[in-house]
Symmetry: C2
Subunit: 151 residues, 2 copies
Amino acid sequence: MEEFLQKARQLLAQRGYKWTGPRRDIIHALLRESYQHISAEELHALMQKQGYEIGLATVYRTLELLVETGLVHKLQFGDGCSRYELAEEDHHHHHLVCARCGKIYEVAMDLLEELEHKIELDHDFAISGHHLQFYGTCSACKKQMREKRDE
Amino acid sequence: MEEFLQKARQLLAQRGYKWTGPRRDIIHALLRESYQHISAEELHALMQKQGYEIGLATVYRTLELLVETGLVHKLQFGDGCSRYELAEEDHHHHHLVCARCGKIYEVAMDLLEELEHKIELDHDFAISGHHLQFYGTCSACKKQMREKRDE
DNA sequence: ATTCTTGCAAAACCTTTGCATACTG
DNA sequence: CAGTATGCAAAGGTTTTGCAAGAAT
């Protein structure tokens, strides 16, 4: 938590960006909501509700900045907006998107490394990140569908 | 090409949808541009230029229909719009997105099956599809960056 | 001081929707 | 003919931008 803030502060300084109140608050809010995949508008609304006076444009700009710096990942789940999550070094994972209820589950796994390596060699492409999503039906929805069918 | 059209016609009929001129034209256009990941607006503009009189709303509606039917995949590369590609049965692949030039390369590969299987068991999640993208720097851009550095 | 950042409102985009007309099965 | 599909224009939602005022180094 604190270390993430320090890292962010340092990385921004390194690139000539300033350390401001709004930026600190946004990172704080992201840390508090780190379990979620939050959209810019949701984050803005949440912060408003928690008493932070911050403009929506600033939220967008700051998130973009954090993505550019590699501190935050920008995700597209196809629901009409971009979603963001903290880039935690030791928490590589993929996403399971339930097509029925829309819920998103995380899968910690790194079997992708072998594949990445092969691609880097085969395509002469320097991979800096990946984004893997699986679509399907989650456990809860499968259960509901069974129950509905048996009525 | 022809077979894809037939398959589409049949699948749509099966679900009570009608086979119309605009739908045929859109699928034709998609087949012609099958090497691309085209957006709805791009497809619309292209068709206009080629002399087809078609409304943008129809393009959106038809693409949505084709996605729903499984004939087309909807992709999000984070550039602000949805992109579409034909779902060719024998052409499973992933995408390499160059962070510098934005170009998108395809990698044919199916090493993911093992991983999928493990997830289905571990998470009781019925996977119906996946979406894997790698981000990084492509060969051409790496070369340009080397040259620029050496100037 | 200079440069960067913010907030607001307006603009820019992409996508969806309502409705009257036209078409398919 | 009944039920869909289309085109247009308008509306909706998300994200970006211009600009004057405010903050950080």
